[in-house]
Structures are given as C-alpha cells and as structure tokens.
C-alpha cells in the first residue's frame, strides 16, 4: 500500500508538469502550477505519516513522551502549512497577472501572447 501512494503523488506531479508544458490557455497553465505545488505538499505530508498513528495533539491524560510514540510527525505538517500559504500568495499573483494580461492582449492564448522575441 505504501509504495502505491508515493507513486500516485509523483503521478500528480507529472500531471501538473504536463499541464504547464503542453497547454496553451493561461488559466490551464495556472491550474497546472497549482497541481505541482499541491503534489509536493502531499508528498511532504506523506513523509511524516506513521501507520496507525494519531493526530499530534496531546490529550489531557497523556504525557508528552506517550504522545510521541503514537503520533504522526508534526514537523511536516508545519512545513506544509507554510507551503500552502506560499502557494496561496503565488495563486493570487498569477490570477491577477492573468487578468491584466487579458486586459492588454484581449486573449488567454499563450501562442498569441508573444510580443517578446529573440
């Protein structure tokens, strides 16, 4: 079971890369970048997983040492939270740029947004 999940995460990464490379609509490229970002976040959460583990929240009748033996790793979760926020900022910027691009070029087609050459 465990290997299949990691391979699926890499498959998601490849789907995102395909969308960025092969698609011509600006919005689809944005979705592709998001998929890449979320695939790496998913891999990061999976790295901290422990089979049969619990959430890393200390219950009222546990000590910290007891929690550490059954809980999943909390550090990747903190990293993923930061990474999601970074992805959010990137998304907002990308969408704002796509809107401005449409105002200037009148189209969302990357093949026609090609003023810069050389």
């Amino acid at each position: 079971m465990s290997m299949a999940i990691y391979l699926l995460t890499f498959g998601l990464l490849i789907v995102g890369i395909y969308a960025v490379v092969a698609k011509k609509n600006v919005v689809k490229i944005i979705v592709g970048v998001l998929i890449i970002d979320y695939a790496v976040n998913l891999l990061l959460v999976l790295v901290g997983y422990r089979t049969g583990g619990q959430a890393p929240i200390q219950a009222a009748d546990e000590t910290a040492a007891q929690m550490a033996t059954v809980a999943v790793d909390p550090l990747p979760q903190a990293m993923v939270l930061t990474s999601i926020v970074i992805g959010l900022a990137l998304t907002a910027l990308m969408v704002a740029m796509a809107i401005r691009l449409h105002e200037k070029y009148g189209t969302f087609d990357m093949d026609r947004i090609r003023q810069l050459r050389g």
């Binding site: 890449i36 550090l75 900022a89 910027l93 401005r100 691009l101 090609r114 003023q115 810069l116």
Partner: protein, 510 residues
C-alpha cells in the same frame, strides 16, 4: 552580537509594513522614500560592522532542547557576510537610484514596500542555517520579484512577468521536493545535522534529492538549460529592479544556495562537481554567443548575466572537483576565491550597466543600440559610468573584472582543466567584442534620431551610478586587501564542509 543577527531580516520587513501603513495616512506619505533608504543604510552599515566579528550563529526563539539546539538556526559565517555586504550595497544603490527613476510611476510606495520585502528576504536566504527556512525566504524574494518585474503593467512587462512566474514556481516546487526527500532520509532540517547524517543514509533517494535541488536552484541561478526566463524578465523590469535581479537575486537565491548545498550539505563529490562545471561551461558559452547578436541594450546585458554566472559556477565546480579528488587545499581555495570575487565584481559592474541603461532609456527614450549614438557628449556622467562598467565586464585592467577573470583562468589551469581555461579566455574576448560594439553604437558616433535631445539624468541616479563606478575601480586595485578580509573567510566557510558542521552546532549530537 549573536542576538542582532535576525535584525538583518527584521528591519527591512518592518520598514516595508510601516511604509504600507504610512502610504494611506495622508500627510505622512512623503516619509516612505526616506524610510526605505534608512532601512537599507542600516543593513549595509550592520553588514560592514559584522565583518570584523567572528562566526556567529543564533537559534531563533531560544527554545532549549538538548544543548540548546532546538529551533531555526541563523548562521552568519564568512560566506554569509560576503553576500550580506554585496546584497545591501547593491540594494542601497538601487533604492537611491529609484528615487529619481520611479517618479513617472504612480504608487511608488508599493514599489518601495516590495523592494524592501525582496531585500529582507534575500538577507534571510544568506543567513539561513536551515533547509526549509532557506526555501521560505527564497520564495518570499521570488514572489516579490515577480510582482516587481511586472510593475509597470505594460503588455510586454506582464508577459515577461507571467513567464518568469510560471518557470520560477516550477523551480521552487522542485527545491521543496528536494528538501522533502532530504528530510525523509535524515529526519532533520538543520543544514549541519543533515550534512552529518546524510552519508549514513545514502542510497538512490539521495540522487533524487540532489537532482531536484540542483535543478531547481540552477533555474533560480539562470544556468543554461533553465535560462529561458531571464532574457524576457530582466529587460522588462524597471531599471533598479533589473539591477537588483541581475545583480543580487540570481546570486543570493541561485549561486549562493547552490554553493551552500553542494559544499556544506551534500558534500563536494565528483558527480556534483562535474554537474556544476558542465552547467557553468554551457552557460558561459551559450550566454555570450546569444548576446553578440543582440541590438536591445538591456537584453544584451541579460544574456551577459547568464554568461558571467557561468564563470562563477564553473570556478566553484572546479574547486569542488579539486576537493573531491583530494587535491591541494590551496588550489581549491584559489578556485573558490576566483568564483566569489567574480560574484562580487559582477554584482558591482552588472548593476552599474543596468542602471546606466535605465538612465539612457529614461533620457533618450530608447533601448535599441541603433537608435542611440553620441551620448558621450549629451550625457557625460552617464556615459562615463557606462564606459567604466563596460571596461570592467570586458576584463580590462585596472578594473575589477580583469583581476577576477585572471584568477579564474589561472585556477582552472592549476586544477587540471586547461581546455576550460582556453574556453574561458575565448568567452572573455567575445565579451570584450560585444561591449566594444555597445560603446561604438551607444556612446560614440553621430546622434541617432532619439538621442539628439537627451539631457543628463537627475542627481540621485548619477550619484548611484558614480558610487558603483568607484566600487568597480577600487575593488580591482584593493584585491589583496579584500581577499584577506572578505573572501578568504568566505572560502574557508565553504571548504570547511563537514568540519564546519560540528563547529556551528553546539551541544552533543546523537
């Protein structure tokens, strides 16, 4: 002194937030510019003062743990100090230049806030002692730079910013992938601890981590297979941002991170050294070949950035190769000295060239070389600074470019790569050719259609360019002095490798 290290990041960030608040406060709006300049001046003065202190490290938050090592570490060793001085010097010059250049834009407070965010984040990148902290500050600097490239909101600028954004986002995702795999192998994020635990956990996963990290960072450093964003992004940005991007962003977030990870985390072994040398050589050659045929001044400068970064990465790779082969430490130190000296010099003269191209663009209204001409008579100060920058990058003595290229070529010969040394000499000659063309068309000759009515640039822009010109002249003549105080500690920080890991992490290791 240890506790003051985070202020390098906190002061620019705090100033950025205060600027956003002040800009909506009516009469206080005039204070935003001086506040931005004051924040960067503090950073530069602090960076110079810290040069005299030894190696510093602080665990932010002071959360204790075994040996007081739990938490995010900020490390200020020799390499970090060199880059701090470089980043803050170029940032100061750019923000002073921007006082004159940005007058034709609205919302200048937004520019200053984003600029300070980018500067604070770049300071954070070079001070990071922790892999994930490096990634977070890299992202902050990158996102601020995406917004700044498209600041003018014209059609071409938006297109360039969008392409830069998409490619940069993919590169950053690969960097995070590499950090993830390293964490899953070693269980730590602190660079020193990962370096100690990585050899024991070696396997195919290490190759995946190294490949993703090196690929993502090579994209940030604009090495040749991954350079496609740079020729569009750097010319389209406003001139002070082009100077910052080409002058420090590709160095702090690209080359510095590459050097830090290859030398201090992964360990300089043969595969990594070969990869660095291949990337460096390709960038050197392809960059200058593509630059020769350019007629847009800023696009030409952007391609030359790729080529000069190739010099730096090639020298660092040669140093790594010497260490991996067990050669003499003095030769490896010479290679690294050449690479780091060229990094500092390139920051100085490339920023100078971009700033002067911005001045020409503002006063003469054009970026195309064929439409300029005779500017040495119409704009004497700008063209004098531009000439100094062109002579520096072409490698003409007594300016700084000559000395750093000489050290790189000698180091390549000594470390056993005579063919690469000859290639480096050839690339230097082609760079000289390209800048002779620039001087002939832009500064000499009959005035073109647009440059006949050009006047001199405003005082703040001229002061900024003149300061960088002075740095270009002095850095070459004072090479020995700089080497002893600035570059040898930086090279030692890289060469320490695994020994440095034990010094910086106080307390017992499991």
């Amino acid at each position: 002194m240890n506790a003051l290290v985070p202020l390098f990041v906190a002061v620019p960030l705090g100033a950025a937030f205060v600027i956003v608040a002040l800009a909506h406060a009516g009469g206080l709006k005039r204070l935003t510019g001086p506040l931005a300049v004051a924040a960067v001046v503090y950073n530069l003065v602090a960076a110079v003062i810290f040069l005299g202190v030894g190696d510093l490290s602080v665990f932010v938050g002071g959360w204790g743990g075994p040996g007081k090592t739990l938490g995010i570490e900020m490390v200020c060793d020799g390499l970090a100090k060199l880059l701090l001085v470089t980043i803050n010097l170029v940032a100061l010059v750019s923000i002073v230049y921007a006082r004159g250049y940005m007058r034709r834009f609205t919302r200048v407070w937004l520019f200053e806030a984003l600029f300070l965010l980018m500067t604070g984040a770049m300071n954070g990148v070079v001070l990071a002692g922790d892999l994930f902290n490096l990634f977070v500050f890299l992202e902050i600097a990158a996102i601020a730079s995406y917004a700044l490239v498209g600041f003018g909101c014209e059609a071409e600028e938006l297109e360039a910013a969008f392409k830069y954004l998409v490619l940069g986002a993919v590169g950053s995702a690969f960097i995070l992938l590499g950090v993830t795999v390293l964490y899953s192998l070693t269980g730590h994020l602190n660079m020193a601890k990962v370096a100690q635990l990585l050899p024991a956990a070696a396997g195919p996963a290490t190759m995946l981590a190294a490949a993703s990290l090196l690929g993502g960072l090579a994209l940030k450093a604009a090495m040749v297979p991954f350079h496609a964003w740079l020729p569009d992004a750097h010319p389209s940005a406003p001139a002070p941002i082009s100077a910052m991007l080409s002058g420090v962003l590709i160095k702090a977030s690209g080359v510095y991170a590459l050097a830090r990870i290859v030398f201090n985390v992964l360990g300089p072994s043969h595969p990594y050294a070969t990869i660095l040398m291949v990337l460096g050589t390709l960038s050197m050659v392809v960059g200058v070949l593509l630059a020769i045929g350019q007629w847009d001044f800023k696009r030409l400068l952007a391609y030359h950035s790729i080529s000069q970064m190739g010099y730096v990465v090639l020298a660092l790779g040669a140093g790594a190769g010497v260490v991996a082969a067990g050669g003499e430490r003095a030769i490896a130190a010479l290679c690294i000295f050449g690479g780091l000296f060229h990094l500092f010099n390139h920051a100085a003269f490339k920023s100078l060239l971009f700033l002067s191209s911005g001045s020409i663009e503002q006063q003469a209204g054009t970026r195309l070389l064929k439409e300029m001409g005779g500017l040495s008579r119409r704009m004497p100060a700008t063209s004098f600074c531009c000439r100094i920058g062109a002579l520096s990058i072409a490698g003409v003595p007594p300016f700084n470019g000559f000395f750093s290229k000489l050290v790189i070529i000698v180091a390549l010969m000594l470390s056993g790569h005579p063919v690469l040394a000859v290639v480096a000499v050839g690339v230097a000659l082609m760079t000289l050719l390209s800048f002779v063309k620039v001087q002939r068309y832009a500064l000499e000759g009959a005035p073109g259609a647009r440059s006949a009515e050009a006047t001199e640039a405003p005082a703040s822009m001229v002061v900024a360019m003149a300061s960088l010109a002075v740095v270009c002249l002095v850095a070459g003549l004072a090479m020995v002095l700089l080497r002893d105080h600035l570059f040898t500690p930086a090279g030692d920080a890289l060469l320490r490798g695994f020994e440095g890991a034990k010094d910086l992490v106080t307390g017992a290791m499991p």
